[in-house]
Symmetry: C3
Subunit: 386 residues, 3 copies
Amino acid sequence: MHAALPQGEQETGAVDTSASQPRDLRRIDIHPDHWYPLAWSREVKRGHAHGVRFAGDPIVLVRTDSGKVFALEDRCAHRQVPLSAGVVDGESIRCCYHGWTYDCTGRCTDIPYLGRERLPNGVRAYPCREEAGLVFVFTGDPLRADTARFPSLDSATDAAYKTRRFGQEVKCHYTFMHENLMDMNHQFLHRRQMGSMRARSLGRRRGEDWIEVDYTFAREAGKQPIGEALVFGQKRGAKPDETQKDVMTVRTEYPYQTLRIRTKDEAMVMDLWIAYVPLDAEQRTNRTFGLLSIRRPKIPILLDAAWPLLVWFTERIFKEDRWIVEREQEAHDRQGADHNHEVFPVINELRALLMEHGVPHRAAGAHDVDARRVHRIVPVQEVPAS
Amino acid sequence: MHAALPQGEQETGAVDTSASQPRDLRRIDIHPDHWYPLAWSREVKRGHAHGVRFAGDPIVLVRTDSGKVFALEDRCAHRQVPLSAGVVDGESIRCCYHGWTYDCTGRCTDIPYLGRERLPNGVRAYPCREEAGLVFVFTGDPLRADTARFPSLDSATDAAYKTRRFGQEVKCHYTFMHENLMDMNHQFLHRRQMGSMRARSLGRRRGEDWIEVDYTFAREAGKQPIGEALVFGQKRGAKPDETQKDVMTVRTEYPYQTLRIRTKDEAMVMDLWIAYVPLDAEQRTNRTFGLLSIRRPKIPILLDAAWPLLVWFTERIFKEDRWIVEREQEAHDRQGADHNHEVFPVINELRALLMEHGVPHRAAGAHDVDARRVHRIVPVQEVPAS
Amino acid sequence: MHAALPQGEQETGAVDTSASQPRDLRRIDIHPDHWYPLAWSREVKRGHAHGVRFAGDPIVLVRTDSGKVFALEDRCAHRQVPLSAGVVDGESIRCCYHGWTYDCTGRCTDIPYLGRERLPNGVRAYPCREEAGLVFVFTGDPLRADTARFPSLDSATDAAYKTRRFGQEVKCHYTFMHENLMDMNHQFLHRRQMGSMRARSLGRRRGEDWIEVDYTFAREAGKQPIGEALVFGQKRGAKPDETQKDVMTVRTEYPYQTLRIRTKDEAMVMDLWIAYVPLDAEQRTNRTFGLLSIRRPKIPILLDAAWPLLVWFTERIFKEDRWIVEREQEAHDRQGADHNHEVFPVINELRALLMEHGVPHRAAGAHDVDARRVHRIVPVQEVPAS
């Protein structure tokens, strides 16, 4: 396998390797002022509570008897036990221990043995929305929820595409995930699934909170695997360079990432949207939520028939990527610092972007104290369950 | 389920919620100057040694060939390996590694390859007593052992009662256990076992090292479960308020706890004695030793016949309580401080009592150094095994 | 069981017990400037890479397509993932992620997408040798590799002996291993396998980097187990003191250890060579590599026939030793310091020797930074695989 950078990038790349990095990218927390998917809609069942985590903060997602979803801190104000172990009562959630009751704004509305006239403070509520089968929560300052950009998930709700929902917990910092997907020179990792492929970077573009890079691919040896043909399009009898007519664009639009493949006639044949949600306070584990949309062919049933194979293929690729980023995290843990030695300019720019848009790692427990002191009543956007 | 506080307590309760707590109750160690049960008698077999822990300190309980029990530090003075892996030799314990031998005072009496005329210091001995099927050890300053109050375990040795011995390791600070048992407003937790019950606090009393509170109960909906009837007494055709005639008294008499139920004619139908022994130095895990004594009915065989059901019922209740206090501990670990927001005056007084009678958390390893430097020869109270 | 020290030693021993130890032996790292076995030759298969650890440093052993073995830091200079997950390509190792390629000196010779004219620094190479079925690595300053003494493994390659290769991970500091083997007064530990044995120390000798002690043994009760007869020689109808004619010499020649048994006619009937390799940075786990050579009897097939029994016997002994040294380590972890109270002069001298020839425990991660900053091209001693 041999891939190549455009000539100019090679030079820049070689110069970049000695750049000093004053801060450790793996100690930059993801910025909380965004809408993050915290669960699949199907995980939050009607009349039940579901506990999740964002960067160490426990959050309970409650689907009420009417089907609405709201999000609170996952702790009772009384003895701090998780509300997710509680009981949904109409449009409220009741703590399982002494029965304290909270509405969708986090207000405590009943303490059975105390009477309703004197009630203590409640718990923090989070803005919450459901889209495309995902429950999104605005995890930062709730006053910024309305003006924050909500991600576009058009392909996942467009009947012209068939969408696979996938993802798992990955034991690494979210930034490793961004770097892994954006650096297509790592095809060597997938040699067993993809054969010998050559990636060529066509150039990159950068905006204030995004960066994107275009690639073409050429097969160097062997036949195209059938799984890959399903995702990237089949190339019967293609000449060596013909696959280069398809362009893959990988884009980080903070904090999300997309990977799109367009054919020479500009049709988008594949659209992957993916988000990496830190689970623990150290942000050393993330839960990945992916929407992989494949354009339906003229005879739609062909895609349906091939779907199990596509699932198998993408799982294999994802498993290899998960394995390697977890090894990167292990190396960082052992070395105690970021010793990456990057030579690819795209990745160095991506790292700068992730650094700029994140926040320095907070001290352990700092969030919790803030959340406890301030009980903000926030508007809850209630969306019926799909 | 709706329960109520007496009018006065409600008001006090609401005021109490803003009380500042300068110290964290979960960083108050249990006071060592008491008699603690460290094992059931049946666990310490004749001619064998049995290793236990108290607040991180390893202790070996040795039952000699004659049936006496003594307690030493569970380490050989030589290479620090546990004496509990050793061999009982008459009235002594011999280390399994090089055969150093100790008597019941902790004195080293033989080093096989050194001769008996020059022997090194030994290990610390602990005062030790057996009562009611429990092996008690005085874990603090041995000079205070004789004057320290030994708990009254009368019901457990009274033929008028049938006693169940139970307990398990619970992964929480011992103080959560006291609060759990004393706050009977947590009936909601046991709704699956007990149905909908209403607890009413009749008032509390407090002494220098004890606090107790009386409750009555009324069923709000459903039938009395048979398991509960066995413990609290059966109420055939009872009118709604009739159950209130029975009074439950929960008492913390530092460091033990009791729960007693008396009928309207003042007969004690149930007597629970319970102790929570911290196992680790951080006191984040306790082993619970409980003696649950039920007064035998006029036809005693009825209680024996129903015993398996009573065991099943109490295990279910205990399992729910263990689950919730472990969630409380998890929340404390995550929050790094005690954020309880107590509104029930009884519990706030209990917390004050536990704070006053405990000791500030010692630095890790502090005990060990003390124990090693001082070899106190202490009188050992030897009691034949039951 | 009763063993005895020679008269003079007893007195010295008793005096020694109050000796103050300013430093903690369990915080003395093994000295890296030696040849350590890091793998069995059979573990490093032709055309494959094999990851090992030395004191927390990951090292990859690569056996090339031609059968040579070399050793590098087990990380790619690019993204720090383990080279041991890579692909052997001729005489080089290629990283599994982006295909960066390294030769046996640690130099990066190819980055597929960057071109070969501008290549970054590589990784550290370690001097490497194969002997007697073991892969040895010089883990310290490579300039000292040529002058460092390589251990003598004569019996393991001498046809007059049959050699067993054994060893396992043991969760303790390497120093506990030395003390365990050298103090033969611990026969009590093996009472189930060996019966009641009496060890007598005949005296000790000490050089600059070695110490050795001679023992004889006498059976105090019971019959000689057959497993022991295989190792120590059979004594049919032996009189009580006849076994004393065989002399066991235990020697620590830093950092290795040997145990040899010679009969009264000075023939060496058993030769054990053993090394303890710290795996983690804290040096709390070691991997033991042992070569146990037994002199073949006049009818060699007798030894082959008895071999399974010998394996079983030595495994049982080793299992008991592993169990006890892990308890010693646990006690040290709990006590936070070395509270050993040694009375046997041989062991006190051994401890002094291990203290003098080791190095103070390095701060975590210190090695890694050094290794990364300096890329030393070192001569690699390539030895064909056996």
